[in-house]
Symmetry: C2
Subunit: 359 residues, 2 copies
C-alpha cells in the first residue's frame, strides 16, 4: 500500500509562533550570523516599516518597498542589483506572498538566507518553491535555499489585514491543505500536517472574520496557514487551483477570491472517489463524512466570504470556456473529468448553491 511506501524530506527551518515574536527578529538575525540585512516590505504591510526597521537596527542596509504580484522578472532584477550593491547577507521579508516571492528570487540568485515575517495566510514562506513571471512565461522551480530559515508568526501584525484579504487568503490556504490530501506527493505525514491546518482554519476563520482584532483567533489562523504552507510545499496544487487559476488569469477575477467559491464544488466533485480522505476531512471539520463539501460551503457562508461566481462578476456564458481551459490545464485528478463535468461543477459554483451530500 502506498501509505507505507513514501519519502519525506525535512529541511532546516525554524518557526516561531506567538503574539510579539517580531521582537526576536534581532536575535534571529544574529543567530544566522548576518551582518547586512536587506529588508523587503510590501504595500499591505507598509505601516510596519518603521517598527521593523527599528528591530533590525544598525544591520539594516536597505529597505525595498516595490513589490508586485507574481514577481515580475524586471522587478526581481532591480532588487537583485540593489542587494549586490548593498552586500547584504540576509533578506528579511515582511508581508504576503509577493514579498516572500521577491525574497526568494534574491535568495535564489545570491544564495543568502531569508527570515520571513508573514502578515497574510499565503504560506509560501514554508515552501522551497519559487516563481518569476516574464512577458511570455512563468519560471518556477524548487530550491532549498529559498525556504526561509526562520519564520516569525506574530498575530499582532495581522489584526489590521482587511477582512476581504483575510477571507480570500485563508481560503487559499485551506484549499492548499484540502487538495494536498490527495495530491501527487502526499503521504501520511503531509496529511497529518494538512489536517492540522484545516482544523485550525475551520475553527478560527469565522471568529477572525467577525472579530478581526481577536489575537487568539488570528494566531490560530496564522498557525493553520503555516501548516497549509508546509503541506503545499511537500505536495502540489491540483484540480481546484487550476480552475481558480483559469478564473483569475483569463477572466480577470481576483485569483484569491475564487477559492471560497470553487473549493466546496471541487471537493464535492472528487468526494465520491475519495472515501478515505473524506473521512479524514470529516474529522478535521467535525462534520458528517458525506457532507464535507457542504461543510466547506457552510464555512464560507459563516465567514462571509464569496460563495458564488456570479457574485464575483463572472458571466454564465463564460463557464464553458473556463471549463475547457481548466480541463486542458489539469494534469492529474483522483476522479476522471472532462470539460463537461467541470462545467457542471462550475454551474453550481456560479449559482452558489450548497453542494449536495455524497452517497
Amino acid at each position: 500500500m502506498s501509505a507505507t511506501s513514501f519519502t519525506y524530506v525535512q529541511r532546516n527551518r525554524k518557526m516561531v509562533f506567538g503574539p510579539g515574536v517580531r521582537n526576536t527578529l534581532g536575535a534571529e538575525v544574529s543567530e544566522l550570523n548576518a551582518q547586512k540585512v536587506f529588508l523587503i516590505i510590501d504595500g499591505g504591510a507598509i505601516a510596519l516599516r518603521k517598527s521593523i526597521e527599528d528591530l533590525v537596527g544598525n544591520k539594516l542596509v536597505s529597505t525595498w518597498t516595490d513589490v508586485k504580484q507574481h514577481v515580475p522578472v524586471e522587478l526581481a532584477e532591480s532588487a537583485r542589483s540593489a542587494v549586490t550593491n548593498s552586500s547584504a547577507d540576509l533578506v528579511v521579508c515582511v508581508g504576503g506572498g509577493s514579498s516572500t516571492g521577491l525574497a526568494k528570487a534574491i535568495a535564489l540568485s545570491h544564495r543568502i538566507p531569508i527570515i520571513a515575517i508573514p502578515t497574510t495566510y499565503a504560506g509560501s514562506e514554508q515552501t522551497t518553491i519559487y516563481g518569476l513571471t516574464g512577458d511570455r512565461h512563468k519560471q518556477t522551480g524548487s530550491d532549498a535555499i529559498v525556504l526561509p530559515r526562520v519564520s516569525l508568526y506574530d498575530a499582532e501584525l495581522t489584526v489590521d489585514l482587511p477582512i476581504s484579504v483575510t477571507g480570500a487568503s485563508a481560503f487559499n490556504a485551506l484549499a492548499h491543505s484540502v487538495e494536498s490530501l490527495y495530491a501527487t506527493g502526499c503521504n501520511p505525514i503531509t496529511t497529518a500536517i494538512a489536517l492540522e491546518g484545516i482544523r485550525a482554519i475551520n475553527l478560527s476563520l469565522p471568529l477572525v472574520m467577525s472579530s478581526p482584532k481577536n489575537i487568539e483567533a488570528r494566531a490560530q489562523l496564522l498557525y493553520g496557514a503555516a501548516m497549509s504552507g508546509i503541506s503545499l510545499g511537500d505536495t502540489s496544487a491540483g484540480f481546484h487551483h487550476k480552475i481558480c487559476h483559469v478564473l483569475g488569469g483569463a477572466f480577470g477575477l481576483v485569483h484569491a477570491d475564487a477559492h471560497s467559491v470553487v473549493l466546496p464544488h471541487a471537493v464535492a466533485f472528487n468526494a465520491p472517489v475519495l472515501p478515505f480522505e473524506m473521512n479524514q476531512l470529516a474529522h478535521a471539520l467535525d462534520c458528517r463524512q458525506d457532507d464535507v463539501a457542504g461543510s466547506l460551503w457552510d464555512l464560507a457562508k459563516r465567514s462571509g466570504v464569496p460563495s458564488s461566481l456570479a457574485q464575483l462578476g463572472l458571466h454564465r456564458e463564460n463557464l464553458a470556456e473556463v471549463a475547457t481551459r481548466a480541463a486542458a490545464e489539469i494534469r492529474t485528478n483522483p476522479r476522471n473529468f472532462d470539460a463537461a463535468s467541470i462545467e457542471l461543477l462550475l454551474q453550481g459554483a456560479f449559482d452558489g448553491v450548497r453542494p449536495l451530500a455524497t452517497n
Copy 2:
C-alpha cells in the same frame, strides 16, 4: 495561550519508507557524497550483515559488530579509533537503538553524517539526542550532527524481530508518543506527529504480534515508531519513563518490558488533569474519552505483551522503594504526585488490573 506561542525547529533529514527501500542505500550514500562507509550492525540484525555489505559495495571500509546497550564510553572510544583509522566519512547503522547510539557517538566526535536502517521501534534515529554511559554517570546531550541525515525504513528487515522484542520496543515508542502530548516542549505540531504515531501503533501492533510476517502491518508499526521518535526528539520523556527507568535500573527488570505494564496506569494517573489530551488520545485510539488508560491496557492485552509487574518478577514489597526513587527522579508532571500516589499507581500495575475509567 500556549497552543499558539511556541517554537518549532525542523532539521534536514530524509525518511524513506517502504518494503525494499534498503536497496536504495547505495544511492543514498552517493547522494551524501560519501566515499568511505563505516558500517555498524548490532547482534539483533547480524543476519543482515552480508546483504547490507553488498549494498554498500566497494565504499565499505569497515564493519563493526561490537554493540552494547547504553553506549559504554570505552566501546565508543574503540569504535571512534576504528573510524579514525579507516578515514570513514559516513556511518551506516543497522539495528536497534544501541546501534544508532554508537553511530551517534561517532558522528559527534568525527562530525560525519549517519544513514540509519532501523530494525526495531526505538525511534532514536529521529532525534538529535545522544548518550554515553561511563562507570559513574551518563553523558547525554543534543547535537544536530547526530541526527541521521537519511533513515531507511524497510519493513522487510523487521519480520524476524522476535515477538517479545517487538512488543516491548513498540510499547516504548507508544509511551514516548503518549507522554510527548503533555511533555515540556510539546506544541501542536509535535502533538499532530505523536497522534499519528499512536494511531499507527494502535492499529498495527496487535496484527504484528499475531502475524509477525505481515509486511503491511510491520510497515505501519515502523512508521508509527518513526513518528514517535520525532515527537520524542522534539519534547522529552516524563513521568512514565522515569518510573520504568527505576524499574529497569534498580530492580533488574528489562527496561523495555515495563512499558506495556506501566503506561496504562501512568496515563490513568494523569488523565484527570488532562481532559484536552485525553480527548486527542481518545480520537487516536478510537475509544471513549474517559477510558483512554483502559484502552491502552486493552491494547497490551490484545498484543500479548506483559501487563503486570508481578509477571515481570517484581515483588510487592519493592513497590514502596520504586515509588520513592521514582518520586525523587521525576522533575515535572501535569498532576501533583508524591511517593504515596506513585505507590498506589504501582499497586495497580503490579496486579495488572485494568485502570478504571476517569470521571
